[in-house]
């Protein structure tokens, strides 16, 4: 009740100010203080409310973003959200670093069979399921103009690759919220992270083929063979140096951790932006370093090579809540309800087939490994989420397919909205069922509850 009261007061105040000073909301001072504060508090209060009904807080943050965003109540215009973009980037760097820190080699080695099984099984099965569905069903759907078989093949492959993408940030947010610790949560996070890297490589590969078949507006198709490995290698290298620098900081200074991490996140995001421009001037084409990969690998090296992860884990634990709240609330404001509304039937079908593929993969892998059937269900529920990387890669499709690409992009956005809403709920449920969710009081069910 108290949360609801505070939320109503804040919404009323913000509404009054928005009505009284409509022009002033374009000022960066107002956007980065009033708007940002309002989003932070409203999303937090929403998250607390969803936690009460046993849904992940992350779902509440997303709903707050959707509700207050441009598609529903319009408290945040699309223009005003641009100025909050750098906060989003900072949050992503924090989250990626945290994800890297969570990956401990000694623990992962113990379950290498499960990990390798899932890392191979999920991409192959999901890719094949989506690929065959789209290759054969796409002409029947009437969403795109008729394409020659070769191009239809590549498009289906691109979309199949996108279906493999997961959301490390959502996975980590639910793990942190549930205070989950154990083999199951670690394996889910590891597989999620690896699959994101795999998706980036595969997607670039298929985009190169799009260029080669002459359909697309991809201009540097040949460069991609050099570009992608170079970008990945440089990102990993930078991650290594960052980890070394951060370990030196722990060794000699070890103070003001949050402040230092903020600087690191800022430096990484700004350096990657600057690097793209510089590389274009020097080598003729721009190399986009991936901040997500840099921070993730830095976290991984810090934890496993330099053995200085504990300090940063504690620091991030002290500050993760505001970061997650902002990140997912902003993600919520970006989710397009318009897209979902316009093609919800196709999106539901697409999402359903993808989930089916995930479950098939998990059950198949567990069966091969001789694990119980239940384990396959738990893993299946854990790999539904989709977010940032998927949206980013989906945005490249209209560029490669000017005719009908926008329709496909809308469809993909709608699918991502569904996965992003359903995914965290299913994953939290799986964590609770696995018994690793220490931060969630388990409600007695069935007979024991009645007795």
């Amino acid at each position: 009740m108290t949360h609801l009261f505070v939320l109503i007061v804040l919404v009323l105040l913000q509404g009054l100010l928005l009505k009284g000073f409509p022009q002033a909301f374009s000022l960066v001072e107002v956007q980065l203080t009033l708007n940002f504060g309002f989003l932070l508090l409203a999303a937090y209060l929403f998250g607390e409310w969803t936690a009460r009904i046993r849904l992940p807080k992350l779902t509440g943050y997303l709903f707050a973003g959707i509700l207050l965003g441009p598609d529903v109540l319009g408290y945040f215009s699309r223009e005003s959200l641009v100025s909050l973009g750098f906060i989003d980037e900072l949050a992503l760097a924090f989250i990626a670093l945290s994800a890297g820190l969570e990956l401990r080699m000694q623990d992962l080695r113990k379950q290498w069979r499960v990990l390798s099984g899932l890392i191979v099984g999920i991409p192959v099965t999901v890719f094949c399921t989506i690929f065959s569905f789209l290759y054969f069903a796409l002409p029947q759907l009437g969403l795109l103009p008729a394409l020659p078989p070769a191009q239809r093949w590549i498009l289906a492959a691109l979309l199949g690759t996108l279906a493999i993408a997961r959301s490390p940030s959502s996975t980590l947010a639910v793990i942190k919220e549930c205070k989950a610790r154990g083999e199951f949560s670690e394996s889910v996070l590891c597989v999620t992270v690896v699959m994101d890297i795999l998706v980036i490589i595969l997607f670039s590969l298929f985009l190169t083929l799009v260029g080669a078949t002459g359909t697309a507006a991809v201009t540097h198709a040949d460069d991609l063979w050099v570009k992608i490995p170079a970008e990945l290698a440089l990102s990993l290298l930078l991650g290594f140096f960052l980890a070394w620098f951060m370990s030196v900081y722990v060794k000699y200074i070890k103070t003001e951790g949050i402040f230092f991490l903020l600087c690191v996140a800022f430096l990484v995001t700004r350096l990657t932006h600057a690097f793209a421009g510089t590389s274009e001037a020097v080598i003729g084409f721009s190399l986009h370093l991936e901040p997500l990969l840099i921070c993730m690998s830095a976290g991984f090296f810090l934890q496993n090579l330099f053995k200085k992860g504990a300090f940063y884990e504690t620091t991030i634990d002290q500050s993760f809540l505001p970061i997650f709240v902002v990140f997912f609330a902003l993600a919520g404001t970006g989710l397009s309800l318009e897209a979902l509304g316009s093609m919800w039937q196709w999106a539901m079908l697409y999402a359903g087939i993808r989930i089916l593929g995930v479950f098939l993969a998990c059950h198949g892998t567990m069966r091969v490994l001789g694990a119980p059937f239940r384990r396959g269900n738990l893993y299946g529920m854990s790999f539904i989420t989709q977010a940032g990387v998927s949206i980013g890669l989906a945005g490249l499709i209209p560029r490669s397919y000017p005719e009908g690409g926008e329709v496909l992009f809308t469809l993909l956005l709608a699918v991502i909205v569904i996965n992003q809403i359903v995914g965290p709920i299913a994953f939290k449920f799986a964590l609770v069922k696995s018994g690793e969710a220490k931060g969630v009081a388990r409600k007695p069910v069935g007979r024991s509850a009645r007795s």
């Binding site: 108290t2 949360h3 009261f5 505070v6 007061v9 804040l10 105040l13 100010l17 000073f21 022009q23 002033a24 000022l27 960066v28 001072e29 107002v30 956007q31 980065l32 203080t33 009033l34 708007n35 940002f36 504060g37 309002f38 932070l40 508090l41 937090y44 750098f86 000699y252 200074i253 103070t255 003001e256 949050i258 402040f259 230092f260 903020l262 600087c263 800022f266 430096l267 700004r270 350096l271 600057a274 634990d317 002290q318 500050s319 993760f320 809540l321 505001p322 709240v325």
Partner: protein, 402 residues
């Protein structure tokens, strides 16, 4: 934006360097005191600003204005949360009257002195009154942290003196924030499209009401059992929201958050926890705040230096005189009555002084405004640096052993 990365990076280096070397290496206690209070970051900011390196140029400074607004809110909340009636009543009610009289006397003496001085260079400037008023109100501020730092190195018998100084300082800080809140009400914000067309008193009352509302919201949210991370989020969120609201309405975020802090301090059982929470984040926030303020500093003409020196001297003399007359009477029940020179111990001005200077710069003066206002801002910042340099001598004089 790369400049922001640069300043943050430099801040870490500076902070780390300051922690690891300066404080231990510096031979003089006065010099190490200067570094302990973090005032050197004003100079770091000045070096990074347009006057020297140009890393923090005008465009970048425009982008970090939101940070300054949040910083003001944070400082206001921190000041307010320390104003618990129970704790403030330890010296008796009459002491308030004497401290109030002391404040009025400082205000009067500084105003008269500065009016005379400024009148020489700006005889018919319409903003002369405002410039003098801002400097006079800021003269009331004293950095409590500096007093606390100094008192760590004096004998136990002298410790009650530190409490007295901090008490006077906290009361004067409230007077300064309230007066500044009133002053802000007289001026429409420099930026167009914002600010309510209300009378100054109405704006003042609005600040109090909104501050009380923010305090109540904090109180309501803190009633539940919350983790530390949740509390940090709530405080950050409300400071951002309150700061933005104050900016939009053209009222003082310092006053608004001071009231919010006071509500929390006096109605919540967890105010001490909240204070500790605010203090955890205070230092890095404060250092960045100082650096950005320093980047705004312009010491182009010798007049600024001259006026700053004159202001620092007039302020110190006024504090000495007013302290001699009123402060001794403020603590009649004290076991060891303070010396007549108590006012000399209040010369350190950093913290709230910088906050008021920045507040003045953001709300009233801007680069396009009249030269007198820009000079006033620079005089204020430079005088704060000077006051930090002379304050150890004042404190040493007050706390010297008989």
């Amino acid at each position: 934006m790369k400049t922001i990365a640069a300043i943050l990076f430099l801040a870490v280096l500076a902070l780390a360097g300051h922690r690891k070397s300066f404080v231990k290496v510096l031979p003089s206690r006065a010099a190490s005191f200067f570094f302990l209070t973090g005032t050197e970051f004003l100079l770091v900011g000045y070096l990074l600003g347009d006057s020297f390196l140009g890393i923090l140029d005008a465009a970048t400074l425009d982008q970090v204005r939101p940070f300054l607004i949040v910083g003001l809110g944070w400082i206001g909340l921190l000041a307010g949360i320390q104003l618990e009636w129970k704790a403030l009543g330890m010296f008796g009610r009459t002491s308030y009257l004497w401290i109030l009289l002391y404040g009025c006397c400082v205000l009067f003496l500084v105003s008269v002195g500065l009016y005379g001085l400024f009148h020489i260079w700006f005889p018919s400037d319409p903003q002369l009154g405002l410039a003098v008023a801002v400097l006079a109100v800021t003269a009331l501020c004293t950095a409590q942290a500096s007093i606390a730092l100094w008192m760590q190195h004096v004998s136990k018998q002298k410790r009650p003196l530190g409490l007295m100084l901090q008490f006077v300082s906290s009361v004067n800080d409230v007077i300064a924030i309230v007066l500044f809140g009133l002053l802000v009400g007289f001026y429409q914000p420099a930026q167009g499209g914002i600010g309510l067309p209300l009378l100054p008193l109405q704006k003042f009352v609005l600040s109090l009401l909104l501050g009380a509302l923010m305090g109540l919201l904090l109180l309501i949210l803190f009633r539940r059992r919350l983790g530390e991370v949740d509390k940090v989020l709530i405080v950050i969120g409300l400071v951002l929201f309150g700061g933005g609201m104050a900016y939009l309405l053209g009222i003082s975020p310092l006053l608004l958050h001071l009231v919010a802090g006071m509500v929390l301090a006096n109605l919540s059982l967890k105010s001490e926890e909240t204070f500790q929470l605010l203090m955890c984040i205070e230092r890095p926030l404060y250092l960045i705040f100082l650096m950005i303020a320093g980047a705004y500093l312009r010491i182009g003409s010798p007049l600024v230096v001259l006026l700053a020196v004159a202001y620092a001297l007039i302020r110190a003399l006024s504090q000495g005189v007013a302290g001699r007359v009123f402060l001794r009477r403020a603590f009649p029940d004290a076991e060891n009555p303070p010396t007549r020179a108590l006012g000399w111990g209040l010369t350190s001005q950093a913290g709230l002084g910088v906050a008021l200077a920045v507040h003045f710069h953001l709300w009233i003066a801007d680069p396009s405004s009249l030269p007198i206002l820009n000079i006033t801002f620079s005089v204020l910042l430079l005088a704060i640096l000077l006051n930090e340099l002379i304050s150890p001598f004042g404190l040493a004089y007050v706390t010297k052993e008989k």
